[in-house]
Symmetry: C3
Subunit: 260 residues, 3 copies
């Protein structure tokens, strides 16, 4: 029996190029339970990457959508009752089919009820959680740091894909820092939500969740740098990053990647 070896940080740029090629070749379906602010931008970012988004939250059909998908995103922004029910059904359907899924615990630092719900969802074995700094602290009770991320990843058996000025992606045994991106990314609503959707798209075509999560954030960061060259502000940047992601090639990822 051969134990598959997790790639090292230095392997990620080439792997990201490979994963992007797989997404474009296979067109994986990604079902998104996400908030109304993010739906349109998320769908367009997934389409730009080469994936096929769907977004229904109706309780009596979400299981059928998930059963026909390759990965699931559960995003807690604007988290109304119907989306909670939908998330519950969708996660159950994903578990039955062994589908990878991503939890984006949006704004759990603002709402204790939402933080409780997020902690319950972590028990249901997402492949990855994708918080920002404040959300990680609300989720884990710890401040952001390499040790805290790896400890949480180990304790919960989950990949932590933390967004920030430098992104950090940890599993129980590995951590990588990704320094790509542009400050304009923080000026566009739903950029983090779209990043989480890209993590789901990568999980659909790559079995190792640490590699998939890191490669997704690397793609997004490089696309952001390309987009910033053509942007006059956050409005045109939001448009340009969709173009940049659709136009992204493996060579650019490898040349621009800053991972350590």
């Amino acid at each position: 029996m051969q134990i598959p070896q997790t790639p090292q940080p230095a392997d990620l740029p080439k792997l990201a190029a490979t994963i992007l090629g797989r997404i474009r070749g296979q067109g994986p379906r990604v079902h998104c339970i996400t908030n109304g602010v993010a739906q349109n931008f998320t769908a367009n970012m997934l389409l730009a990457a080469g994936a096929v988004p769907s977004m229904t939250i109706a309780p009596d059909e979400v299981a059928q959508f998930v059963a026909r998908c390759d990965a699931l995103l559960v995003n807690l922004g604007t988290f109304d009752d119907e989306r909670r029910v939908a998330a519950d059904i969708a996660i159950e359907a994903a578990a039955q089919d062994d589908l990878p899924w991503v939890l984006d615990p949006v704004f759990i630092d603002r709402s204790p009820a939402r933080a409780v719900f997020a902690r319950e969802l972590v028990q249901r074995k997402p492949s990855a959680v994708r918080p920002n700094h404040a959300e990680f602290s609300a989720l884990s009770g710890a401040s952001v740091g390499h040790d805290a991320l790896m400890q949480f990843a180990r304790a919960q058996d989950v990949v932590v894909a933390l967004s920030g000025e430098t992104d950090l992606v940890a599993d129980a045994a590995h951590i990588v820092a990704i320094s790509n991106g542009d400050p304009l990314m923080a000026r566009v609503t739903a950029m983090g939500c779209a990043g989480s959707a890209l993590v789901a798209a990568c999980l659909a075509v790559e079995a190792d969740p640490w590699s998939a999560s890191a490669c997704a954030l690397l793609m997004l960061g490089v696309a952001g740098e390309q987009a910033a060259q053509n942007a006059k502000g956050p409005g045109s940047f939001a448009v340009a990053i969709i173009d940049a992601l659709a136009d992204l090639d493996g060579k650019t990822i490898v040349e621009r990647a800053r991972v350590t």
Copy 2:
């Protein structure tokens, strides 16, 4: 008594120019029961054409919105409970005022429950249904083809406005193929939804539903070609097609139309 004669395909480009002029002159109100992914883009496309969108789904006011409108769109994407109730009330209100309405059976190929609901709605006499290939098959049980479309149109007394690489618009007696458009249209979320809203806007100002439906898809296709000249990818294309539709003139439609 003079029986109004349905135009032939060759008449459609000039008719589309006329209909676009009517939309801009009259500013018809189009009420849209549509999904959260599509709402913003649909509203902006209707405004670009010269129509006035409204989007409420609240059960105790949707009838009053429809009663003040000139056409209705019912789009089944992200089809939650509240939208089902809203669709039911809106269709009833449209029937009472003899308003034209369009059914966009989004993703019914993915959800049996949604397909059943769509088939029930077809019984309530929409002026047009606007499926893609997979949705037409789920609706009719038949593969796409000229005969299948006309047969369905005849059996259900409805216009079928099928989107695809080539759009096909059929009623019981006529079918037209529209070859305008650009591949980028398939890379932008809610493009089909916006097309269905344009069908509704055209139905508001043109009594013959086959002509109205065909002219709407022709306008969208020509606007897409104009937009592609200024686009660097799907992000800028989604912006440029709104500009192109707002800027579209009858002369361009007539020059660029490819209808047979």
Copy 3:
């Protein structure tokens, strides 16, 4: 005791420059109960101004979001049951913390039930209401005019920030006409909604509601004029106004302001 003096119209351009600086310096949090058409554009406009948006409508967390915010927007577009409940809770939470809030009575001229609800909300002491002409008439029973606006402001103890070709902002004792803006602003969906969100952002950093409301509409109008210089139509205009707002400086506001 010194009674604070309300600025005069001529003071507003410089005050708008000051308020914009405060928003960028303080990053006020603005919670928005708003419609699905407007959510994304509103969030991006708030971010462009320098504010931090949140948008949840879930009944059991909206109070906690409002309690952590600096101002509240209640927008009645696509006004479903859940948003009515959320508005009720949010307004109560705002009252407890003495937070300023804005009411945008979208489309109340189309729906009697919505108009009744809006009149009830006016009793709950918003800092400002932000109608267009038809909505003001539905709210007040009067036609738009300087006297009618000031009378309504006096009777209800509220600032009226009316949008139109010329914006008018009235309290019991003052009225200002703002002639900035561009016709393309009426061609983009949710532009009025975003304007109301900017009013909320200004109220978060400026205690006088008349000044805050007028300065918000002035900023929006000047940003619209800047955006129009780079726009080819309503699609690119919607993008350019986000860029323009992010790029807006006090000097440009003072130079371009047309207030009387």
